[in-house]
């Protein structure tokens, strides 16, 4: 089985997902189905975006060294998820995104979600967690230069990422429960999630302020020494 390594399949995915499948799904979702089906449509779109990323990743000639470094960062994130209350995953994903580029950041965030859910429970939410953490890493890669320059901006981005993660995951909670978006349920979900949201924001700011500089230096050194 050649999977996405197969060139035709890869190209089909890369063209059809953004231009055909996602718009078609959204349209079909709003026209054919009633509001009960939102969960399946959002899930399908999440899965297709991850597939799109996988196809792009398979095509690029990513060096072996970069892949192994991504695996190292994923393992560190994974181990970090076992720390009670404070979760360094987003912080480490952001650092990876800044110093190794958005694609690697996305990779580390998404892979951490899959791997750690072997211990914390797989479910339909895995796709959303992959997307949420992946996007945090990807955006960090895009904003790499200002984030490297300004420490304040970095901490603000960390706090915002924690909030966004909670907001995205709660949309999913509501969609799953109510099979349609109910703003009252969403506010209730956000309310019950306040301790978690606070812990995400605090851990992001804490770990970024502690780790960003030493970690960045180490990654920069590896990049300079070996040219990853």
């Amino acid at each position: 089985m050649n999977g996405i390594r197969n060139r035709t399949l890869r190209n089909t995915i890369r063209v059809s997902v953004p231009f055909l499948i996602v718009p078609a799904l959204t349209l079909a979702g709003s026209i054919v189905f009633d509001r009960k089906r939102h969960i399946i449509i959002s899930l399908a779109i999440a899965v297709f975006s991850l597939l799109l990323f996988a196809a792009g990743f398979e095509k690029r000639r990513t060096g072996t060294r970069r892949m192994v470094i991504a695996a190292v960062m994923t393992a560190l994130c994974f181990a970090g998820r076992f720390i009670p209350f404070l979760k360094p995953i987003s912080a480490l994903t952001i650092i990876t995104g800044i110093y190794l580029g958005g694609e690697t950041g996305f990779l580390v965030g998404a892979m951490t979600a899959v791997l750690s859910n072997f211990y914390f429970g797989q479910g339909p939410w895995t796709a959303f967690q992959m997307l949420a953490w992946g996007l945090i890493g990807l955006v960090a890669g895009i904003l790499s230069d200002p984030l490297k320059r300004s420490r304040v901006f970095l901490l603000i981005y960390g706090a915002a990422a924690g909030l966004m993660y909670s907001f995205i995951m709660d949309i999913w909670t509501v969609l799953w429960y109510a099979e349609g978006f109910d703003i009252k349920l969403y506010i209730a979900a956000l309310g019950t999630a306040i301790p978690y949201t606070a812990s995400y924001v605090i851990s992001n700011v804490l770990f970024l302020s502690l780790l960003a500089k030493p970690f960045g230096e180490k990654l920069q050194r590896i990049k300079n020494k070996y040219g990853v």
Binding site: I39, V68, F118, Y177, A178
Partner: protein, 292 residues
Amino acid sequence: MRSFSEYNPIVITVYIFSVTGIAMFCNYPLLIAMTFIGGVLYYIVRNGRSHSRSHLYFFMLFVVLALVNPLISHNGVTVLFVMNDNPVTLEALLYGINSAEMIVGVLYWFRNFTQIMTSEKLLYVTGALSPKLSLVLSMALRFVPMFRRQSEKVSDAQKAMGLFKEDNIIDDIRGNMRIFSIIITWALENGIITADSMAARGFGTGRRTHFTNFRFRRGDMIFLLTDIILLAICAAAIAGHKLEINFYPKLRSSTLGAGALTGAVAYGILVLLPVIAETEAFLRWRYLKSKI
């Protein structure tokens, strides 16, 4: 037939997604009840009477989820009672129970899935899709215990050098920070060495092989086809609006005609497939043993 967990990982993945997909797509109470019962039944068949704590946890979750909706949503016409000037309606309660049943049922299915799909099987499935991602996953899995072992070594070495005493908190924290920093540097350098070693041995020049070979046997094909056919029958019934229910403003459901029954029966068989496979394997094993 083999027991369900011994089927090809791709078959297992397709199966789990067809069962939970239907459950999340359709809110018809009969199908939801089937999902729930099937999930719990298979969990019990697999684990016997143990795991009573997870059953308790799921039960509490069920109660909470079922009660959230009537307390928040006040749609529906049949008022049961009024609480804090807000009506609690029968429709909202039924809706809550149905949703809770769906969520807890899907949770049971995924608990089964997590038990069956060991990381090795998942690597096989992702490897079929994208070999590079699968490689990153498998290396990360291997790194976790390696880092732990290395950090024990570093910590021992640091102590032997007398660099920190563990009874002093400040010293302890500083020492652990130093170990953490050492581990990161070591992990990154070690990763580079691993990568170079892989490249030297020809990584990326050919197709990657797997440690475990999962073959696609005839039984897998039969299982997969059965799954797809049953899924198609059920999906056709749903698409034809045979299995529909509206909770608001008043409970209104499609009548249980022939089309609806076929769809429901197909889904019922689909949900029971792993239990059937498991029972068959068990009976055959008993039979073979009795002949010795």
